[in-house]
């Protein structure tokens, strides 16, 4: 499959994620959208990694670093989810809402 398809798909996913983050107020949905963006990047990384690996005259190890980064991102995302969800739970306990617009106290 040509690489263009992957790029287009990743772009679509990323755009959906961005729009979601910008428009939704529910913290969990925002959170999911962030995951969407991260995963679109993952998809892209894997696709390029494969492309480099299959290129003519490439070394046996070519493209592995791309996959390595995917793991990094997944680990970071997992850590982020755990911290983020914890924050959301704490937030709900304190203000009984998970609407992010409620959190504008930085202004003051």
């Amino acid at each position: 499959m040509p690489i263009n398809y992957y790029i287009t798909l990743a772009l679509c996913l990323f755009a959906i994620g961005v729009v979601g983050v910008l428009t939704r107020r529910n913290a969990i949905i925002v959170f999911m959208c962030i995951e969407l963006m991260l995963n679109s990047v993952n998809l892209l990384l894997v696709a390029f990694s494969k492309m480099h690996h299959l290129a003519k005259g490439a070394a046996a190890t070519a493209g592995t670093d791309g996959q390595l980064f995917v793991f990094f991102i997944m680990v970071v995302a997992a850590a982020e989810v755990s911290v983020g969800l914890a924050i959301i739970v704490m937030m709900y306990r304190n203000v009984h809402s998970i609407n992010i617009n409620f959190l504008n106290r930085l202004k003051h």
Binding site: V21, L22, R25, N101, L103, N104, L106, K107
Partner: protein, 635 residues
């Protein structure tokens, strides 16, 4: 030969030691001891000076270097003294007259508290020290030390009675006016260093060295030096401090006016004679300023009622004559007049001090009169002083003034005519002073009348000595046309002025003409004296002046002019800068920057709305912007 070098430094050192001892010991020493030390050191200096005088008679020049003062790169300024004929004469005048004034002061200042008595003598000794440094310095920098030193001492002594506000005001005025001149002196000095790389007299004042200066530079430098001299020697436009300097004790006035400070300018120009001789334009300026000062001060003196003020303006006027002589290239005449003037002006001031002492501090002539009956010695000596300053033939003033007028005539008959007119004014106001003070009837209070007495010996003996000098002092300079080779002073000073006279244009005046000029001035002066005597003994000048007299009484309003044109605007400018420019403009600018930052911050606050969404939006927009720039706009 060498032994002279060994001891010359004692001449200034002794007064300095006297100053230190009297200054530190003023609480512990008795008045007698203070007076003895104060006068003794000056006497010792005088004896040394006398000895030096005989050493340099043959035309010798001695220089002695003590330690490097400022050595930077190729500029070398040693702390060095130079003794030649010119400085020897000044040494004698300073220490000789200075000694008499010290002796006189012991009695005159007797009523001061011991502490102030000691302070007074410390200042007086310091004054003599500074003046000695001025005339002994072998380069312009050492001269400048003395130059500023006398300024400092005059400040201290004029403001000696510092409780009186006006006195310390006068002291400030004296110092600041001198500073104006000093600045010009300094600039000239730096130009000399810049062009010639040295300040040492013996290196500058050679034809070869001066040839390095262009005519314009020479004129600029000499003019600046002359401005410096106008400050110290009270010439137009910087003369107004001198009459105010009367605030000091009377012996101090005598010291400032006769022996020391005011002759510094004359000395400096006489010292730089060759340079001035090579700048004819400057000489013209000096002659004009000199005669203008002489006449201006003489007219003011006509209408003053304070006995010391009359003498002060007469000093300014006589200094004008000295500068007229310098400007005419008659250097010897200038030095001669400095000498005779030192005699009779010291005499007149000390005499007036004796009068003031007897009058219990009264200085207004209108309240005196008829004092000749009470103070015989003061009366006679004062009269001799007046005759000398008026230029009656045979008295010292006659010879020196006549020589100046002859020199002026050689330069231009107009200068001569003006100078002669000034001499007549001098005779007139001096005899107005004498007659009003000593003749007629006493016009003071009964208490003062009861108190009138001749002053003690410590006052009268200096008066007598000075009177003798005022009478016979002129015979060291008997003019050539009377007796050939009788001008001893001219012969003595010949090595100093030799080169300058070779440069100056020659104006030979016939001996017959000189006889005529001398005769004319003698007759006119004697006539003026008779007129003044007759007029003021009949009716003393007591009423308030009106019309033109009022202008003269108020000194042509020059003080008011300076106050209005210079002092007030400067003060206003200072206030303006302080209150408006510094606080509002400069600081306002700084605060304005601060305010701008604050304002900008307030305007940018909406960016920090606290809404998470808007932050993210901003982030995304930023990313998009970077993309656009990166992919579409670059290249």
């Amino acid at each position: 030969m060498n032994n002279v070098l060994d001891i010359v430094y004692w001449i200034p050192l002794l007064p300095l030691l006297g100053c230190i001892i009297n200054g530190l010991g003023r609480k512990n020493l008795s008045k007698g001891a203070i007076g003895f030390i104060g006068s003794g050191v000056i006497l010792a200096s005088f004896v040394l000076s006398l000895w030096v005088f005989f050493q340099v008679r043959g035309g010798n020049v001695h220089t002695a270097e003590y330690f490097p003062f400022i050595n930077v790169g190729n500029l070398k300024i040693p702390f060095a003294f130079q003794i030649d004929q010119l400085s020897a004469i000044w040494l004698l005048i300073i220490t000789g007259i200075g000694f008499l004034i010290h002796v006189y002061s012991v009695s005159y200042m007797h009523e001061e508290k011991p502490v102030h008595f000691g302070r007074y003598f410390a200042y007086l000794n310091l004054f003599v020290f500074s003046m000695l440094l001025l005339v002994m310095g072998a380069n312009f920098v050492i001269m400048f030390i003395g130059w500023e030193g006398v300024g400092l001492c005059s400040y201290l002594l004029i403001g000696f009675w510092f409780k009186k506000k006006e006195y310390s005001k006068a002291a400030n005025k004296a110092f600041i006016m001198n500073r104006v001149g000093d600045l010009a002196f300094l600039i000239a000095l730096f130009m000399l260093i810049h062009k010639l790389g040295t300040t040492t007299f013996s290196e500058i004042f050679t034809s070869a060295s001066l040839a390095k200066l262009s005519g314009k530079e020479m004129t600029t430098i000499t003019l600046l030096l002359f401005v410096g001299a106008t400050g110290k020697s009270a010439q137009i436009p910087l003369y107004t401090w001198l009459p105010d300097a009367m605030a000091g004790p009377t012996p101090v006035s005598a010291l400032i006016h006769a022996a020391t400070m005011v002759t510094a300018g004359v000395y400096m120009i006489a010292r730089a004679n060759l340079m001035f001789a090579m700048a004819p334009a400057t000489l013209n300026v000096i002659a004009i300023i000199g005669i203008a000062t002489a006449l201006l001060a003489a007219t003011i003196a006509l209408k003053q009622n304070d006995i010391k003020k009359v003498l002060a303006y007469s000093t300014v006027s006589q200094l004008g004559y000295m500068f007229l002589a310098l400007g005419s290239g008659a250097y010897v005449a200038a030095v001669f007049h400095v000498m005779t003037h030192a005699f009779f002006k010291a005499l007149l001031f000390l005499g007036s001090g004796s009068v003031i002492h007897a009058m219990g501090g009264e200085q207004d002539m209108r309240k005196m009169g008829g004092l000749s009956r009470y103070m015989k010695i003061t009366n006679i000596t004062f009269l001799l002083g007046c005759l000398a300053i008026a230029g009656i033939p045979g008295f010292s003033g006659f010879f020196s003034k006549d020589e100046i007028l002859a020199g002026a005539f050689a330069k231009s008959p107009v200068l001569y005519a003006l100078g002669l007119f000034g001499a007549l004014l001098t005779a007139f106001y001096m005899f107005r002073l004498y007659v009003t003070t000593f003749k007629g009837t006493f016009r003071g209070t009964d208490e003062q009348k009861h108190h009138l007495h001749e002053s003690p010996a410590a006052i009268t003996i200096p008066l007598v000595i000075l009177a003798v000098l005022s009478v016979i002092g002129g015979f060291v300079g008997v003019p050539e046309f009377i007796a050939h080779g009788a001008h001893a002073l001219s012969g003595f000073l010949q090595p100093v002025f030799k080169e300058a006279y070779a440069v100056l244009p020659k104006h030979e005046v016939e001996h017959s003409t000189e006889w005529g000029l001398a005769g004319l001035s003698s007759v006119l002066v004697i006539l003026t004296v008779i007129i003044a005597w007759a007029r003021f003994s009949k009716k003393p000048d007591l009423q308030a002046a009106t019309g033109f007299g009022k202008i003269l009484e108020n000194k042509w309003y020059i003080d008011e002019l300076y106050q209005g044109v210079i002092v007030k605007p400067l003060n206003m400018l200072g206030s303006f800068l302080s209150n408006v420019v510094d606080k509002k403009v400069v600081d306002g600018l700084v605060n304005g920057v601060g305010r701008l930052v604050r304002y900008g911050g307030r305007q940018l606050r909406w960016l920090q709305s606290g809404q998470t969404g808007s932050y993210i939006l901003m982030m995304v927009l930023g990313m998009v912007l970077i993309f656009i720039v990166q992919f579409f706009l670059r290249k």
